[in-house]
Structures are given as structure tokens and as C-alpha cells.
């Protein structure tokens, strides 16, 4: 075994497209973990994945996969990575059999038997053109391909979006089976947080090209909570606990961090556990409010000058 502990390490990576910037992001995924990569559409999840695969050029920073820099031998690194994208990428006229012929000439460790076993298990026709497959079938075909060359790292970019609950559940089940092996690491990018809650050990939350939250999923869920109170009570809460709040005519809901410390300080207030989805929404809300106030501040400063 090599000496690395993290299957993936992303350090201070920046990629500037002009209208969008992935801004100095850093996170790592320990080997054997399932990392949920969450964020709304356009947050920078796919860009990060493309950078991780060395499929696009980064402006700065370093990326290591299995302890090796992707600058040194990205081709060899990709031998150990299985990737599932939101769109299939195979030509519509290709059959599952054609894909096998293609892939066995690409991957050194391609295992035909495993591939056809997966096709059999997923009930995918071998000789039918994949252009006629449903979205669920296309996703399963990609998963079969990604898992048939002994990949140690599986990267999935929105694999469950647009799928019906049954197909989603099937895919989650496949991922669970894959993740059982301690040598297998998964980076699961999704904006469907319920899937992440079911599967992930760690969570990396990205928004507008910046990492907002990063850590153990259970710790994140444990430390955050939704505090429910009257509108005028919000001002009583110490700012150090508040992530952001949503005020309606019925009252206020506040996402708080350090849930237990907060509960201790305000025992009369109700604090419920927060879901990942709620955490994501409140953090994005916080960012939006901050951006607006930054912009207003900028205008005010300008006026003062």
C-alpha cells in the first residue's frame, strides 16, 4: 500500500472563466469514504470534477489523487477512476456490446465478465442501441461501465437527477454495495440532498465557486438546527449562532450552528434538527444576503467618495 490517506486532495484550486470563478477551493476525501458534493446548479461542482480529472486546465493550486499529483500522470490516475456523468456521452447508435469492445481497448483492467454481469443485473439489453434507452437505463449503463475496470475512485456527477424514485433507489443501492469495500472511495455530486444524506460520510458544500461547508456529515447535521421563534425574538439571539433566518408572517425560522450550545443559552426556544437541504438553503440565503449588503455597501462607499 502507498502512504497516502486521502484518495483525493484538492488544494487552493482556482479556475476563472470570467463570468464564473472557482475560488481557491480546498478539500480532501479520505480513502474509503463517500463524499457528498452538494450545491445548487451552477455552483461549480462539475467544474471541480473536470479539474479533478485534469479534463480542464486550472489556473492555480494542486490536485492529488491517491497521493499522486494529476500533473505527473493523469492518464494512469484515470485508470483507477470510474466516472458517471449526468449525460451519457456514448453515441446513440452504440450498443452495450459496442461499448464493451471500445472500453476493453481503453482500460487496462477492463473486466468483461463484471460488465456483462452488471448489464444482466440491470436488465439492460446488450444489442439494443443505447439512444433508445430511458434516462434510468442510460445511467445504469454508465454505472456498469464505470464499475467494470476495478476503479478505486468513483466520481458521480448528478447521477440521480431526473430519475424516478425507484431508479434513484436502485442507483443508491448500487453505490452502497460499491462503498462497502474500504478501498473504494466515492465522490457523489448532487443537488438532491436526500441521496447524500442516505449515503455520504462527508459533505462538501459549494456555492458560487466557494466551499461554504466541509466536514463529516453527521457532525454537520448534529451541529446545525432550526430554531423557531417569534419575529421579534430573533434580535435576542446571539449572532455567533445565526447562519441565516427566514421571517414570515407566522414567525421566524433561524438556522443556528452549535445547536446544543444555543439550546443551553436559550432553553425556552424550540430547536429542531436540520436536514442537509435546509442547511444548504439557509447557507445560500446567507450568501445572497451578504452579496446584496456587499453590493449596497460598495454603492454607499462610492457615493461617499
Amino acid at each position: 500500500m502507498s502512504g497516502y490517506q486521502n484518495a483525493v486532495e484538492i488544494k487552493n484550486v482556482t479556475k476563472d472563466y470570467g463570468d464564473f470563478k472557482l475560488d481557491n477551493i480546498s478539500f480532501s476525501i479520505p480513502e474509503g469514504n463517500v463524499c457528498g458534493f452538494i450545491g445548487q446548479n451552477g455552483a461549480g461542482k462539475t467544474t471541480t470534477i473536470q479539474l479533478l480529472l485534469d479534463a480542464i486546465r486550472r489556473d492555480s493550486g494542486n490536485i492529488y489523487v491517491f497521493g499522486n499529483s494529476i500533473d505527473i500522470d493523469s492518464v494512469e490516475i484515470r485508470e483507477n477512476i470510474g466516472v458517471v456523468f449526468d449525460e451519457m456521452g456514448f453515441h446513440d447508435f452504440m450498443t452495450a456490446k459496442n461499448i464493451n469492445t471500445m472500453m476493453k481497448n481503453i482500460y487496462k483492467q477492463w473486466d468483461e465478465k463484471v460488465y456483462f454481469d452488471y448489464l444482466d443485473r440491470f436488465k439492460l439489453p446488450v444489442k439494443k442501441q443505447c439512444g433508445s434507452f430511458s434516462r434510468g437505463m442510460r445511467m445504469k449503463l454508465q454505472i456498469a461501465t464505470a464499475l467494470s475496470h476495478n476503479a478505486r475512485l468513483l466520481i458521480m456527477d448528478e447521477p440521480t437527477s431526473g430519475l424516478d424514485p425507484i431508479a434513484r433507489n436502485e442507483i443508491i443501492q448500487i453505490l452502497r454495495e460499491y462503498a462497502v469495500n474500504e478501498e473504494h472511495t466515492v465522490l457523489l455530486s448532487s443537488h438532491i440532498t436526500t441521496d447524500i444524506e442516505k449515503l455520504a460520510d462527508d459533505v462538501v458544500f459549494i456555492d458560487a465557486g466557494r466551499i461554504i461547508l466541509n466536514g463529516n456529515k453527521d457532525d454537520i447535521l448534529e451541529s446545525h438546527g432550526i430554531l423557531k421563534c417569534k419575529k421579534d425574538e430573533v434580535s435576542l439571539i446571539d449572532n455567533k449562532f445565526i447562519v441565516s433566518e427566514q421571517i414570515s408572517s407566522f414567525g421566524a425560522e433561524v438556522l443556528v450552528k452549535n445547536r446544543y450550545a444555543c439550546k443551553k443559552m436559550y432553553p425556552e426556544m424550540v430547536i429542531e434538527p436540520a436536514s442537509l437541504e435546509q442547511i444548504m438553503i439557509y447557507y445560500i440565503n446567507k450568501e445572497n444576503v451578504q452579496n446584496i449588503s456587499d453590493r449596497n455597501g460598495g454603492i454607499n462607499e462610492g457615493t461617499a467618495c
Binding site: D54, I56, R57, E79, F85, G89, F90, K104
Partner: protein, 253 residues
């Protein structure tokens, strides 16, 4: 890289059928042309042209050779089908998947050149077989001359392919119509620049230098190897440039 060639083979499967049909049709037409030159209407037409003084025996021979030569261009002209590969890959979104495969950029570009060259090579081989058969049926042109024509056309096709792939990498797959036309424009501009003196002479005097066709024919017969070498140099330069562009535009093409 082999896997990408397999994928390209699947992409071009339909084209191979058309390619084969074209070769057969061209072969049949060439044989009909040869027989007509020998015994048929073309022969009669040529005889009457010579009798009426419209053309000499030599002129007739040139016309027949040029007509034959064009038949040889057709199979190789299908080299342009390589464009289909870019379009198919774009439509399938294969670029994103390709970025995740353990294949280097160098090999990805190489596979595209090899897939394009397949048509030129098969076309060349088909032409050589045709030349071997036709040269036995007619004395219009010898096998050696046929071979020179084939080499010239192959060189032209290699140059076309080199520019086609290069422009595809420069402009991207969204502008494939422009990509298809630009190599032809490049060729025409190059020919005009090389023959600028003659062109100016023609514009000034209004007299077209009739010897130009004979000169061209003589060049093909005697110096086709120079064109072939030039085409290989252009091919190598195009490959190196494409690798560089592909690396710079990673994730785009």
C-alpha cells in the same frame, strides 16, 4: 487509443458502405470509359476531332488522361468524412466522457488523424488495384502514370485532411460548415499565390497559357513524390499543432 479507433469505426460504419459502393461504381465507369475510348462513341468523337483539326492526337491523349484521373480522385475524396466524427462526438457529448478516459491528449488527437487517414489509405489501395486492371486494358496511360496520379491525389487528400482537422480544433465543432470549407479556400489561396505571376500575365494580356495543363500533367507524372513529401510534412505539422491546441483548449474540444 485502440478503443477510440473502435469508436470511430462504429461512427463511420454507414460511411464504409457508401465508400465501398462509390469504389465499385467508379471502377465500373472507368472500365466503360476505357472501352468507349477504344471502341465506342468516345473513340468516334476523338477521331472526328482529330480529322476536323480541332485537336491533335496528343491533345486527345491529355483529355483522356485527365478524365481518367478524375475517376481516381473520387474514392479518396471521401476522406472528408472525418468531419462526421467531430459532429457525432459533439452530438453525443463524447468530449466530456473522453476527458475521463485514460487516454492522453496526444493519443486522442492521433486517433482522429488515423481515422481520417483510413479513407485515404483504402482509397489509395482501391485506386492502385483499379490502375493495375485498367492499365492492362488501355494504352492511354501506363501503370506508372496511374501511380503518379494516385500519389498526387493522396497527397492532396492528406493536405485537405490536415487542414480540416486543424481548423476543427481551432474553430471548434460548432462551426463544422466553416471547417469543411476553409481547407478548400486555403488550397485555392495557396495555388493562386504560387501562380501569381501567371495570373497577373493572364489579367494583363488576356491570354491563358495553354501549356499550364500540360505542365501540370508533367509535374504530376514526374514529381508527384515531392507533393507526397510536402503533404506528410503538413500532416506532421498539423498533428503537432492540434495536440497543442487540444491541450490549451482542454474541456472545450
Amino acid at each position: 487509443m485502440k478503443g477510440l479507433l473502435v469508436k470511430d469505426f462504429y461512427c463511420l460504419r454507414k460511411q464504409y458502405g457508401i465508400f465501398l459502393m462509390t469504389i465499385i461504381i467508379v471502377f465500373v465507369i472507368s472500365i466503360m470509359f476505357v472501352f468507349s475510348c477504344k471502341y465506342g462513341n468516345i473513340n468516334k468523337g476523338f477521331e472526328s476531332m482529330v480529322k476536323s483539326g480541332m485537336a491533335t492526337g496528343n491533345d486527345i491523349s491529355y483529355i483522356a488522361r485527365i478524365a481518367m484521373a478524375f475517376c481516381f480522385l473520387i474514392p479518396m475524396a471521401l476522406t472528408g468524412n472525418v468531419m462526421e466524427l467531430f459532429v457525432d462526438d459533439r452530438d453525443a457529448g463524447f468530449g466530456k466522457l473522453a476527458g475521463a478516459l485514460p487516454v492522453s491528449i496526444r493519443k486522442r488527437v492521433m486517433s482522429r488523424f488515423i481515422s481520417g487517414m483510413i479513407f485515404t489509405v483504402i482509397g489509395c489501395m482501391a485506386d492502385i488495384i483499379m490502375a493495375a486492371v485498367l492499365s492492362r486494358l488501355t494504352d492511354i496511360i501506363t501503370f506508372k502514370n496511374y501511380f503518379a496520379i494516385i500519389i498526387t491525389f493522396a497527397s492532396l487528400m492528406i493536405m485537405y485532411l490536415s487542414f480540416l482537422i486543424l481548423y476543427a480544433y481551432i474553430l471548434g465543432t460548432e462551426k463544422m460548415t466553416l471547417v469543411a470549407v476553409l481547407p478548400l479556400i486555403t488550397g485555392v489561396v495557396a495555388v493562386l499565390l504560387v501562380n501569381m505571376k501567371r495570373l497577373i500575365g493572364f489579367i494583363h494580356n488576356g491570354i491563358f497559357d495553354a501549356d499550364i495543363i500540360k505542365m501540370l500533367f508533367n509535374f504530376i507524372m514526374n514529381k508527384s513524390h515531392l507533393m507526397f513529401v510536402a503533404s506528410l510534412v503538413i500532416l506532421a505539422a498539423s498533428y503537432l499543432l492540434c495536440v497543442r491546441i487540444s491541450d490549451l483548449k482542454r474541456g472545450v474540444i
